[in-house]
Amino acid sequence: MPNPFSLSRSTEGNLSVIHLEGYLDAHTAPQFEHAIQEEIDAGRYRIIVDCASLTYISSAGLGVFMSFIEEVREQGGDIKICGLTPKVKQVFDILGFSQIYDICDNHPDAVHRFAESPLREG
């Protein structure tokens, strides 16, 4: 297939960055879910999901964002989404995700947003 899925993780200070690449569908969403779950288990609630290389998302991928956001915000953290391509952004918009999530243009913007609200409560 042209765009297999891959996921990489890094930390920047107290921020966790998950970089998604390729397609996020019902087949690959469990890997993403697992990655977020590990951050939460490690007590890391300030998460940036970088979607600059994400070429496709279905509801299974959106469901991962949906199921964790409350818990993360309760703990004073957030999931900031950055780098959405127009194609992927459109799916977020259709489902009204743009109202619920903090969607940033790019990675530096997402870092800034965390800096602005160091103790954001859910």
Binding site: M1, Y56, S67, L95
Partner: protein, 148 residues
């Protein structure tokens, strides 16, 4: 001039691994039908959602089962049929919750059918549990200026 119907069928084992193949298949057919890239992307998503539901809900991830996707088009529209012989369900009983509520309830699902209905012009189920469950979806094609 009579509008010729072009018919394509894809049959595959019921596994999420095959959703990428379904999208390729739909993408090629939709491009041939004259859809632009944005429309093709939406159709791929709608059919992905339909097949993911069959794989997960109708067949409960039993990979020995088969999913059938038909994609037919003519000058007016592209028709998608997704067929399974699984559990079936009552589509009318599925109420589509608001994303806000799904978030509060920490749900990871419940968005698929809404997406399908938003993306397609027609969505209709014919359910005979264990025998044949069929989902029919239609997307009308934009008329081109150059068409007679």
């Amino acid at each position: 001039m009579e509008s010729i119907e072009r018919k394509f069928t894809l049959r595959f084992p019921s596994s999420t691994e095959n959703l990428a193949l379904v999208r390729e298949f739909v993408g090629v057919v939709a491009s041939q039908a004259g859809m632009d890239a944005a429309e093709v992307g939406k159709l791929e998503l709608a059919v992905d959602e339909a097949c993911a539901n069959v794989i997960e809900h109708a067949y409960g991830h039993d990979t020995s089962k088969e999913v059938i996707v038909r994609a037919n088009f003519n000058d007016e529209a592209i028709h998608i049929h997704v067929e399974d012989t699984g559990r079936g369900f009552d589509p009318a009983s599925v109420t589509s919750a608001e994303v806000e509520r799904l978030v509060l309830e920490r749900k990871s699902g419940g968005l698929g059918m809404r997406l399908m209905k938003t993306l397609m012009d027609e969505v209709r189920y014919e359910i005979e549990p264990g025998l044949k469950n069929e989902l029919h979806m239609t997307k009308f094609l934009k008329k081109k200026k150059s068409d007679k």
